[in-house]
């Protein structure tokens, strides 16, 4: 926790963020360009045919939708327990990004489901749990919008982030615990990945690209949020004077 303490100072955090974000942005462009090029050349699945290409957008989006809520839950716990202002900000600015990835997961999944399963949507455990995740993100964003005082809003939102984290194992294990239309995991499974290397490598590159994309936007949005809070405080001070 020592290094987290060190980053809890917004000024010091800003200096590091300004140095790291251009590197992350460059990494994002390279990973997404190479990953996209390789995924377009990758062969299609023998059973599914062309619709299997949706894999390359759907799976990284789905991982990000869960990963970002995980980041928000950890940041919220740090903010609640150690009162780190930077952790609070990290959780707040992550939510719209997570909501975007969740919407992308549901949309690409729907477009994938129609030609393969024969339906855009079913209420199976995996799909429903992912839809609940979208509602959790929207609820989390709504709390920040509804409560004006950032300290009180942060506390309420942090509790929702922690409570909502019970949904993450439910999403992941839904396909193992219950009968679902959605197939079980292809990569995070016993006995190794069941995706041929010709498709797995572009998929992992794109997943890394999505991660770099998220962290780039996270740092940019945190810088903007810290600047916004400074402006707010200066306005309050000048109004009092």
């Amino acid at each position: 926790m020592a290094n987290l303490h060190w980053l809890a100072n917004p000024g010091r955090f800003l200096r590091i963020a300004k140095a790291v974000s251009p590197v992350l942005a460059g990494l994002t462009v390279v990973l997404l360009a190479v990953g996209l090029a390789l995924s377009l050349q990758a062969p299609v699945d023998a059973v599914q045919g062309t619709p299997s290409k949706v894999l390359f957008m759907h799976v990284p989006s789905a991982w990000m939708s869960m990963f970002i809520w995980g980041v928000m839950a950890v940041a919220s716990a740090v903010a609640l327990i150690w009162k780190h202002p930077v952790a609070d900000i990290a959780a707040k600015v992550s939510a719209p990004l997570g909501a975007g990835f969740t919407a992308a997961t549901l949309l690409t999944g729907s477009l994938w489901g129609k030609p393969t399963w024969g339906t855009f949507w079913v209420w199976d455990a995996r799909l429903t749990a992912e839809l609940i995740l979208l509602f959790l993100y929207i609820g989390y964003i709504a709390i920040w919008q509804a409560i004006e005082d950032p300290q009180r809003a942060g506390k309420a939102a942090a509790i929702l982030a922690l409570v909502g984290s019970v949904n993450l194992p439910i999403i992941h294990f839904s396909v193992d615990w219950w009968n679902t239309l959605h197939q079980p995991a292809s990569i995070l499974r016993d006995g190794g990945a069941s995706i041929d290397a010709s498709m797995l490598i572009p998929l992992l590159l794109l997943a890394a690209g999505f991660q770099a994309f998220y962290f780039t936007l996270l740092l940019w949005r945190m810088e903007a949020e810290i600047a916004g809070r400074k402006i707010r405080q200066l306005r309050l001070l000048s109004a009092q004077a």
């Binding site: 062969p43 299609v44 699945d45 023998a46 059973v47 599914q48 045919g49 299997s52 894999l55 716990a77 609640l80 327990i81 150690w82 030609p115 393969t116 399963w117 024969g118 339906t119 079913v122 209420w123 199976d124 455990a125 922690l162 409570v163 984290s165 019970v166 439910i170 615990w177 219950w178 009968n179 679902t180 239309l181 197939q183 079980p184 995991a185 292809s186 499974r189 069941s194 995706i195 041929d196 010709s198 498709m199």
Partner: protein, 145 residues
């Protein structure tokens, strides 16, 4: 105990209690969360389906798929232990084949035949290009269909 430790204890205990509560709720609702029943559950009547609509899932038994007329097909759903015959009028996707997974929604007729109103194809978690499948089949190492 400092304030910080108090808050940490509260967060950890809260999450633990929430996790247990969620697990109990999901365990209690387990029969309602399943998307489909297996042929075994229907044949051995471990679930009471009665007159209502429900879904049945399994594999399309090899050699069981028959086309009755232009729009109607019959096939047998199996879970390798029990089977249920199904008839269906409507469209299926190209993934629907013998040996592949299937989920059908409909009602059980008095003769034990399942009359489906919707048939969805289920695919598994393997992704292989056709050339790799052919190579594995040629080498005799292919485990799928």
């Amino acid at each position: 105990m400092t304030r910080k430790q108090q808050r940490m204890t509260f967060v950890v205990a809260g999450l633990g209690a929430l996790g247990i509560a969620t697990a109990l709720v999901l365990f209690a609702l387990r029969d309602n969360i399943v998307f489909f029943y297996s042929p075994t559950e229907i044949v051995e009547q471990t679930v009471q389906v009665g007159d209502r609509n429900f879904r049945i899932g399994g594999l399309v038994e090899n050699g069981s798929l028959q086309r009755v007329d232009a729009n109607t097909i019959t096939f047998i759903v199996t879970d390798m232990k029990h089977t249920v015959p199904v008839s269906y009028t409507g469209l299926v996707t190209s993934l629907f084949k013998e040996g592949q997974g299937v989920v059908a929604e409909g009602r059980l007729g008095p003769d034990g035949r399942f009359v489906a109103s919707q048939v969805l194809a289920k695919h598994d978690e393997t992704y292989m290009p056709a050339e790799v499948v052919d190579a594995l089949k040629a080498a005799g190492e292919w485990k799928g269909n």
